[in-house]
């Protein structure tokens, strides 16, 4: 097992450097982009300031020196400053990251309960109405633009429902909290939106894994030993089928951090994604860059953790190879 973990950690290193280098290249060397303009803002850069910035950013230095400086800044948490407000990017992100995290956690919980549950029921009652329903809705969910779903939910639960019930019952559709609704109520719609597509995938994977496992020889052995259908399902099938599903959900957490950009924009949820989207419109490039970097790192770490956790889940890896 240690060998496995060690291997994974080692593989992480080139990925880390590759990603940071790619980010670095994009920031400074994209064809047609002007790195100084990006940091300065919308208005044109006056020549004196340009020379100053060039010096400050070290743009006339060799590439590897720049990369080194960039890495150094990165590891010290220095992501530059916003060209709109002048505040350090890292501070802005630190304020907004917790919101994104909350939303992602909520979405993951929905995914686990609804997605995995639906997948199990679907597999156990194959070809039943429920199975067909799940298969159909997941096929559609996969083709659904998430941001559009969010808007539809906003309309239905926030606007139409309000009218239909004369203002009695509706859900908040904007921001993270308000006078009438606590923070949790605000999280419901964006959380569901964020979870929607992932839940569909999770259901499909759970279902297909369970069906595949059910066809395995050891399930037949378990039945031959006289175990009831339920015992076979929970003790034998499920535990095996869960392993890839758990890994999937773990990796999906990373995807959620990323997908949050669209969902947060729709619901004005003050997380990292929303901040990035707004910065795009305001041409506040340092925030865009910093925000994306931070999310990327979050995803990389989660992926690594999932990879490593796999060693604990699968006894074949935990306890090494076979003995003769």
């Amino acid at each position: 097992m240690l060998e496995y973990i060690g291997k994974r950690l080692l593989q992480f290193i080139p990925v880390f450097f590759g990603v940071t280098f790619a980010l670095f290249v994009i920031a400074n060397y994209m064809p047609g982009a002007d790195p100084i303009q990006m940091r300065y803002g919308e208005r044109a850069v006056p020549p004196q300031i340009r020379a100053q910035l060039e010096e400050q950013l070290g743009l006339n230095q060799p590439v590897w020196v720049q990369y080194g400086k960039y890495l150094n800044d990165l590891l010290h948490g220095d992501l530059g400053v916003s060209n709109q407000t002048g505040r350090p990017v890292s501070t802005i992100l630190a304020e907004t990251y917790p919101y994104t995290l909350r939303l992602a956690v909520f979405a993951i919980i929905v995914e686990i309960i609804v997605g995995v549950g639906a997948g199990i029921i679907s597999a156990v009652k194959q070809y039943s109405f429920w199975d067909v329903f799940v298969t159909l809705s997941t096929s559609i969910a996969v083709a659904l633009p998430v941001f559009w779903l969010g808007i539809l939910l906003q309309w239905f639960f926030g606007i139409w429902l309000k009218e239909a019930t004369g203002g009695a019952f509706y859900l908040p559709i904007s921001g993270a909290e308000s006078a009438q609704f606590g923070p949790f109520a605000h999280m419901i719609l964006p959380g569901i939106t964020l979870a929607a597509v992932s839940t569909a995938y999770a259901a499909r994977i759970m279902r297909s894994q369970l069906l595949e496992v059910n066809g395995q020889d050891y399930v037949r052995t378990a039945r031959a030993k006289g175990l009831s259908g339920r015992q076979v399902l929970w003790k034998h099938s499920f535990k095996n089928a869960m392993i890839p599903v758990v890994t999937f959900i773990g990796l999906d957490f990373g995807a959620m951090l990323a997908g949050a950009v669209l969902t947060e924009t729709v619901f004005n949820w003050p997380g990292v994604g929303f901040t990035i989207a707004r910065a795009i419109l305001q041409r506040d490039f340092p925030i865009v860059f910093g925000g994306v970097t931070v999310i990327l790192f979050g995803v990389m770490i989660v992926n690594l953790a999932v990879d490593v956790s796999y060693a604990f889940l699968d006894p074949r890896i935990r306890f090494g190879g076979s003995e003769e």
């Binding site: 593989q11 080139p14 990925v15 590759g18 990603v19 980010l23 994009i26 920031a27 994209m30 047609g32 982009a33 002007d34 990006m38 096929s139 559609i140 996969v142 083709a143 659904l144 633009p145 998430v146 941001f147 559009w148 808007i151 539809l152 309309w155 606007i159 597509v197 995938y201 499909r204 994977i205 297909s208 894994q209 392993i243 890839p244 599903v245 890994t247 999937f248 990796l251 999906d252 995807a255 959620m256 990323a258 997908g259 950009v261 669209l262 924009t265 989207a277 795009i280 490039f285 865009v288 860059f289 994306v292 999310i295 990327l296 995803v299 990389m300 992926n303 990879d307 796999y310 699968d314």
Partner: protein, 339 residues
């Protein structure tokens, strides 16, 4: 070229168990990538009936009602989009231009005769806009996928065929690309492009350029399986060069999973383009994009939700069609391979 929520699996090629959790279809695809000997033309007893792999697959595909319906829908949308200039402006007004009179008197109309999808806040007919928007979506979908396929297949072939160091380097690179959701990368790339230069080509480039790793992996898997077949050795024994082997023998047999995934990828690319346009990073006005329409329509949600509804349905139906078509193609090729 996939859903932004699709988790990209790191290190898949070195650990077969984790690869099982990749999106359905992809993992099944390269399990079915092993094909038999190269397709042979056979004259049937009635003469002239060819039974090639692709001929048979096409036959099976035709029998799959769902996939067929999907294909028909795609063709309808495509033809409508291509011929739009011929019939849209005449019947619904030109949705690409702003008619100040219409903007004043005809804003945000609900669906009605003459405006089947209603009008937007500038008096433009939404149905017409949706049709024109299809141009952008389909163009981006197809071209971006084509780019990703070309790069991916080329690199996958080299990786699978030559192995060793080439393989390592290429696979490491795919690891980096696949380590995380690529929508973030596309956002970054497109945010860097100055706003006046944004448009359809940066979007195509971003999506295409970021989509190749999955194809490379997929094709590499296929190549590795096909490479082991005896007829490859036979070809080599007859003196065929590497390039010849690759092009004429390995590729036709290994390409099937790529075809399937490419079809689905077009759907994914359309979704990505919509998302990017929604954020303002895609095509700019006066060019029309479904994603952009949704963003524009958000402000009027309380008054006229149809402004948001129809572009979204357009995206949903088109992407769904490509997904179902991809499923159908997979089933069609799969059964043949199992023979």
């Amino acid at each position: 070229m996939t859903e932004k929520h699709e988790p990209h699996v790191p290190h898949e090629h070195s650990d077969p168990t984790i690869s099982e959790i990749k999106k359905e279809g992809v993992s099944e695809l390269h399990a079915h990538a092993v094909a038999g000997p190269p397709p042979r033309e056979e004259a049937g007893p009635l003469g002239g009936t060819s039974r090639t792999l692709w001929g048979d697959a096409w036959y099976r595909l035709r029998r799959n009602k769902l996939a067929l319906a999907a294909l028909v829908w795609i063709l309808i949308v495509a033809i409508a989009a291509i011929t739009a200039d011929l019939w849209v402006p005449q019947n619904f007004g030109d949705p690409r231009t702003i008619d100040t009179q219409a903007a004043a008197t005809q804003r945000l109309l609900p669906p009605q005769p003459g405006h089947p999808f209603g009008t937007d806040d500038l008096g433009r007919d939404i149905f017409g806009r949706v049709i024109y928007g299809a141009r952008v979506s389909l163009t981006v979908g197809v071209i971006a996928t084509a780019i990703a396929v070309l790069i991916g297949v080329a690199l996958g072939a080299l990786s699978g065929y030559y192995g060793r160091w080439t393989d390592s380097v290429i696979m490491r690179t795919t690891d980096i690309f696949l380590a995380f959701p690529y929508i973030l990368f596309s956002i970054l790339i497109l945010a860097v492009v100055p706003p006046d230069q944004r448009g359809i080509w940066p979007v195509i480039a971003a999506i295409g350029f970021l989509g190749w790793p999955t194809f490379a992996r997929l094709f590499r898997s296929s190549v590795l399986s096909v490479k082991e077949n005896d007829y490859i050795d036979a070809g080599r024994a007859l003196g065929a060069s590497d390039a010849r082997l690759l092009f004429r023998h390995i590729t036709p047999n290994a390409i099937a999973p790529v075809v399937v995934y490419a079809t689905m990828s077009i759907g994914g690319a359309i979704l990505s383009e919509a998302a990017l346009s929604f954020l303002g990073l895609g095509v700019q006005p006066p060019a029309i994009s479904w994603g952009r329409m949704i963003d524009d329509g958000r402000a009027f949600l309380t008054i006229a939700p149809t402004v948001v509804l129809f572009p979204g349905l357009a995206i949903l139906s088109t992407v769904l069609a490509f997904t179902l078509l991809g499923d159908g193609v997979r089933d069609a090729l799969d059964v043949k391979m199992k023979d």
